[in-house]
Symmetry: C2
Subunit: 123 residues, 2 copies
């Protein structure tokens, strides 16, 4: 059984909120990792991002990402599975997500992005 | 005679700071107007943006735009002439500025962007 917390609809996604959300280096790193893993697994669980900070801190950032419309989260048992809302974002703001991710990739060292995360635990 | 306040170098421009700066609706509107007028006049003065708010408030936003590397400002007499640092931004983050401006254009009504500003006073 899975539950789904509240998400904005596609039309409710606002550009200033998306940019503000992405301006935090940890949230930028989460979005970058989700994008890096998209072809392997569209969803990751919070635990896959443990390299980015403490669990409680990450929970806050995941909530911010969900509330601004950047990610979709569903709760499966005790896990929260998160994926990028690429289709919605590309529809609302064509090219923006890719431009941000590519810009982040160029500054990966400077932003201390984790280039790969452990997805072995995703089932 | 013109003076130039402090600006970050191209290499000092940081993605999180640029995104944070653009997440403010008034600064987004300023950047949008600068982009709209680029072909007519690469520089605008603060007075050209009076429709966006009080002078003291705009001065704050122009300083934030300059400090994060989005704009270049030079002081000519009592005027501050501002332009987008398009070349630097496109070099650091290819496609990002255009993606943000195009996204803003799509939501122009929602964001209450001023589609045109008075550049008659620019000399």
């Amino acid at each position: 059984m899975s539950r789904t917390p509240l998400h904005p609809t596609r039309e409710q996604i606002e550009l200033p909120m998306v940019l503000d959300c992405l301006s935090d280096p940890i949230r930028l790193a989460i979005v970058y990792q989700l994008a890096q893993q998209e072809r392997v697994s569209s969803e990751l669980r919070c635990g896959d991002f443990s390299g980015l900070g403490a669990k409680s801190n990450l929970a806050y950032h995941f909530a911010k990402l969900r509330e601004c419309g950047l990610t979709q989260t569903r709760i499966v048992g005790t896990s929260r599975m998160t994926r990028l809302r690429r289709e919605d974002l590309d529809a609302r703001f064509p090219g923006l997500l890719d431009a941000v991710i590519n810009s982040a990739a160029r500054d990966a060292d400077r932003l201390q992005l984790v280039p790969e995360c452990d997805v072995a635990g995703v089932d």
